[in-house]
């Protein structure tokens, strides 16, 4: 007959924690579930965003300069796209407006609002300005309000060449109420 110790120590109590174990069936399920998660991991495609930092900071030393060149090209292309077309568009429009003769028929008017240097707005007849071949065409769609007569085309300041920036930032078109095209979508060309 074995004699049991009457006092317990901490290590003996902690032995009980060691005896807390799952059953054998638990491990079958565990292994199965793990395999599923493992397969999921294998087929899981990495998202582009999670791959970018790793590619950029890869220790290979090849990808870093390549990534730098790609970023630089991206910035250049974006910058070019942002400035070039609208810049030309504005430039052509401004040249035509400046070269145009004073208004004879006030069917369609173009107002140039000045920002700094020109204080008074100038009315120019668009009909006479159209005489050279149209280089800038813009669809005019009437505003929702039936009484409204004006259409506006805004040029972002960043797209205006520095030498013209002071001249105009906003070109607006006014169509007289008695013209046949009043109230309909129409195309205006310079």
């Amino acid at each position: 007959m074995s004699k049991q110790p009457s006092k317990l120590n901490l290590e003996q109590l902690l032995d009980l924690k060691r005896a807390e174990k799952p059953t054998d069936e638990f491990w079958d399920g565990f292994q199965k579930e793990f395999r599923q998660r493992q397969l999921q991991t294998l087929i899981e495609k990495e998202s582009v965003w999670s791959r970018i930092p790793r590619l950029l900071f890869a220790p290979s030393g090849v990808l870093l300069p390549l990534s730098g060149v790609a970023v630089a090209l991206f910035v250049l292309v974006i910058n070019f796209r942002e400035t070039t077309p609208l810049h030309n568009e504005y430039y052509q429009a401004a040249t035509l407006i400046q070269a145009a003769s004073p208004p004879s028929v006030a069917e369609v008017e173009v107002e140039i609002h000045t920002i700094d240097l020109v204080e008074e707005p100038t009315d120019i007849a668009l009909a006479s300005a159209i005489s050279p071949p149209a280089s800038f065409v813009m669809d005019l769609i009437p505003n929702d309000e039936p009484e409204s007569l004006s259409y506006t085309r805004e040029f972002p300041t960043s797209t205006i060449p520095a030498e013209h920036r002071a001249v105009s930032a906003l070109v607006s078109y006014t169509i007289a109420r008695d013209t046949p095209t009043f109230g309909r979508p129409q195309t205006i060309g310079f």
């Binding site: 049991q4 317990l8 003996q12 109590l13 032995d15 924690k17 174990k21 292994q31 493992q38």
Partner: protein
Amino acid sequence: MPYLRLIFPVIDLAFKFVSFVKSITQPLTGTSQVLSEKDADWLTVQRVQAGDVAAFDELVIKYRERIYSVVYNLISNKEDASDLSQEAFIKAFRSIARFKGKSSFFTWLYRIAVNTSLTFLKKNRYRRFLSYENITEETGSSDVLEVLAAKTSTEKPTLIKELQHKLNEALQSLSVKHRTVIVLFEIDNLSHQEIAEIMNCSVGTVRSRLHYAKKQLQSELQDLLD
């Protein structure tokens, strides 16, 4: 003196022969040696790194009980322990390509499991549920139960439940760092050095944490120890 001329080539040949014999026998004796656990794991890891996904199963089967034990004893919830153990293995699987074999795979895996558990504990600081595994009948534990049953004159199943609850509550009352050291040392039987590697601290820190953790546990479980 013509003999002297012959001596040097003969010595040279003898050296060459010895080195040749050595080169043949060395690999044989090397492979015949029993591989240490660390080396065996490293070989398996290399197989996984080479694309043998099934080889990782061997590592899971080998360490699943120990990893589960450490996670379970840290969080005292069997459902979460199962989930977190799998998560630890998945994390290890995902980053196995970065494992260079500088430390043992077992220490690396333990570190992942401990960190996963600690992150879980941090996230769920304010909503904790304890759920326990069944105590299996082992010689050591049954002795303890006999003593306590005689002391308290309580029936064994009730005593087990009470005891389990008190033990887990006491463990959970420890700080996370102290709990980790107690679990790794007292329950998982790891050495001070191994714990230091897993917890990324010095052996001295491990010893001191262990001392304070034991002291606190003793005061928490005083009524059972008297």
